[in-house]
């Protein structure tokens, strides 16, 4: 009896030692995304894109001779939960770098923790201006803030003949920031800004707001939210016979999912996206784009997700490049290395420029923004 126990104990210890040894072979990257809640669709797409990047890098030998290990946590589309899992990743799993947290409110909630534990985070989706202007040197963002989206949109806005625009935005930093930045840009272009209606992120019935828009004299409605809510908005707008020029912003529209779930209700709608997988020739690196799309399809994922998952892909590749440049998987080294990066992602050049108060700048990369249109159930690049 005693011998069996000793053997078992030895086995356990050996197993523990072995797993500890193998554990040291990986470089951990913390990934926090909304996998449940109103943003679950988007968060899941980003997570899967990240996995593709990690697998691709590991297949080629990993980083600094070690394999990448993604530690993925669900922030439940909730700011408090986001802060909590970020802390868990940094304290418990001791990740040297993070990627996340998808939504602006979620990222903002995590930011104080980054300052506390001095760990850098790659922001792949959030678009609130506050993120890079709050004086947090641990933030590096590859997605465009709504201000940059507005600037990109300004280049073509005159061709759309908008006289007056109403806004229907999600009731958080992302939506409200968009209304502010786009509103300002519109006024500079002589476009009148009408109503700004909000919808709670978990709201499913927007018919009240949409009924108000019906009696508005604006010709265009700018809508900012994630694909689930956009689906509902378009379906309900169609059900009310609301006919305006619809333009969505934010890059989380997943147009193919919209076509799938909202059907004819989305014909004629236009969308500002940050990726154009339907026309790889237009993207900065058509070969890489085609490979990514191919790999995505091979894994059986819905094509609609490509417009968001590429961010997870680009994000992990950016982090890997920074780790490589830093020479070691340590937070401070990785942070310093981020500033030296100059690579090409699926969306455009990734090179961080300084934003925010001096001495505490955050990194912001300037990505490309595309305008696409849905016609007869297909995505096209509109001729303006």
């Amino acid at each position: 009896m005693k011998q069996i126990a000793t053997l078992a104990l030895a086995g356990l210890l050996a197993g523990g030692a072995f797993s500890a040894a193998t554990a040291q072979e990986t470089i951990k990257i913390g990934v926090l995304e909304p996998l449940t809640g109103p943003f679950a669709a988007s968060g899941t797409y980003v997570m899967n894109g990240a996995k593709i990047a990690a697998d691709q890098i590991n297949a080629k030998g990993g980083v600094l001779g070690k394999k990448l290990e993604l530690i993925i946590e669900d922030n439940k589309s909730n700011p408090t939960e986001a802060a909590s899992v970020a802390e868990k990743l940094m304290v418990r799993d001791k990740v040297p770098v993070l990627m996340g947290a998808w939504g602006s409110s979620l990222t903002l909630a995590v930011m104080p923790k980054l300052m506390e534990y001095k760990v850098p985070m790659l922001v792949e989706t959030s678009s609130s201006g506050k993120i890079t202007t709050s004086g947090n040197p641990y933030i590096f963002r590859i997605s465009p803030p709504s201000a940059i989206e507005a600037v990109a949109f300004a280049k073509i806005v005159d061709k759309l003949h908008i006289k007056k625009a109403d806004f229907l935005v999600i009731n958080n930093d992302w939506g409200l920031g968009t209304a502010q930045d786009f509103g300002k840009m519109f006024q500079e272009h002589g476009i009148k800004v009408g109503m700004v209606e909000r919808m709670d992120q978990a709201a499913q019935d927007m018919s009240a707001q949409l009924s108000k828009f019906k009696s508005s004299d604006a010709d265009t409605l700018i809508i900012t939210s994630a694909v689930e809510q956009l689906t509902l908005v378009f379906k309900q707008a169609a059900a009310l016979g609301l006919k305006k020029q619809f333009i969505t912003t934010g890059g989380s529209q997943n147009p193919d999912q919209l076509i799938d779930q909202a059907g004819t209700a989305v014909n004629g709608t236009m969308h500002l996206t940050t990726f154009a997988p339907w026309v790889p020739e237009v993207t900065p690196d058509p070969e890489a784009t085609k490979w990514f799309i191919g790999e995505w399809k091979k894994r059986g994922f819905h094509f609609a997700g490509v417009t968001e998952s590429f961010r997870g892909y680009d994000g992990i590749r950016t982090i890997a490049a920074a780790i490589e440049k830093a020479g070691k998987a340590e937070p401070e080294a990785i942070r310093a290395a981020m500033w030296q990066l100059d690579i090409t992602g699926l969306n455009g050049k990734i090179k961080f420029t300084k934003q925010g108060p001096a001495g505490k700048e955050s990194g912001q990369s300037i990505p490309t923004v595309y305008l696409i249109k849905i016609e007869d159930g297909k995505v096209v690049v509109p001729k303006l």
């Binding site: 679950a40 709201a203 018919s207 009240a208 009696s215 689930e228 059900a239 909202a262 059907g263």
Partner: protein
């Protein structure tokens, strides 16, 4: 004016499904005195059932609705038989807690199986709405109104004109005497829970295609159902029906003219106000069924 009419039409349609939810709960709450927290989950179940049947099994939309409702009844009967029957003699907190436990298990099973991403239910109706004068209604919503109303009438007929209904009314008034009269009380309880759950599942199957199917959709539905029950008076089906419509109107008009953000608060404010001033409900004949 046109906007007002549009709000009224929206409210009318929503009200019919709310009424189903409310009737189902008032029966359970009234006859069995159980704080049924699984009611919202049966609502969600109805929606997931129709999604599953259509998307994974390729069942026709209309058939799927029927199956979803029947499955809801069966699930309700199962819950009653396994969880509530053994607790017949226990006090109200115990049954309430068991219902909370069941609610947690059901919701997370749905989450586990279908994931956190919301699902859209395909419908055979055209997307283009029907225009009735100044207002627009989608075909799907008209269908919801028709089926909802049919189920409400069907429930009335069941309660007022069948032996089962009579037995239920008797049990509601006085279980002891009803038992002496030969009514199978245990069977009635099971039937009541099944019926109530089936109605909740019907509401879910009808509203699921209108909105989206998410794992937490039942939570708000549960609470609104309680609001309707309070409004209409415990066990009062007419009250629940009217309560459902009233809630829908208050929500729709409140959201349209006051504030869309507080839309879902309307139900709860109603509860609080009614409880303060008329705890037995708005309608005089509170403590009777039918």
């Amino acid at each position: 004016m046109q906007e007002l009419l549009q709000h009224l039409i929206n409210a009318l349609i929503l009200g019919s499904t709310y009424a189903l939810l409310g009737i189902g709960l008032t029966l359970i709450f009234g006859i069995m005195r159980v704080v049924n927290f699984t009611h919202g989950e049966l609502y969600a179940f109805g929606a997931y059932a129709i999604f599953f049947l259509e998307s994974s099994l390729g069942v026709n939309f209309f058939a799927a609705i029927v199956i979803a409702v029947v499955a809801g009844c069966a699930l309700g009967a199962l819950i009653e038989y396994v969880l509530l029957r053994p607790l017949q003699t226990a006090d109200i907190d115990t049954t309430m807690l068991v219902m909370i436990g069941a609610w947690i298990v059901m919701q997370n099973t749905e989450l586990l199986y279908w994931g956190g991403v919301s699902k859209a239910v395909p419908t055979p109706f055209p997307e283009e709405p029907l225009q009735l004068g100044p207002v627009f209604v989608s075909w799907l919503r008209i269908f919801v109104l028709i089926v909802g109303t049919a189920l409400i009438i069907g429930t009335y007929l069941l309660i007022d004109h069948t032996k089962l209904g009579k037995a239920m009314r008797a049990t509601f008034q006085d279980p002891a005497t009803a038992a002496l009269m030969g009514v199978n009380i245990k069977g009635i309880y099971t039937a009541t829970f099944a019926l109530g759950s089936g109605l909740a599942a019907a509401a879910g199957a009808l509203l699921g295609p209108v909105f989206l199917v998410t794992p937490t959709m039942g939570d708000l539905a549960s609470l609104k159902a309680f609001a309707i029950v309070i409004l209409g008076g415990l066990g009062n089906i007419t009250g629940a029906t009217l309560g459902g419509f009233i809630l829908a109107f208050v929500e729709e008009l409140g959201a349209g003219y006051i504030s869309s953000g507080y839309r879902d608060a309307m139900g709860f404010l109603i509860i609080i106000v009614v409880m303060l001033f008329r705890p037995t409900g708005l309608f005089r004949q509170a403590e009777r069924i039918g």
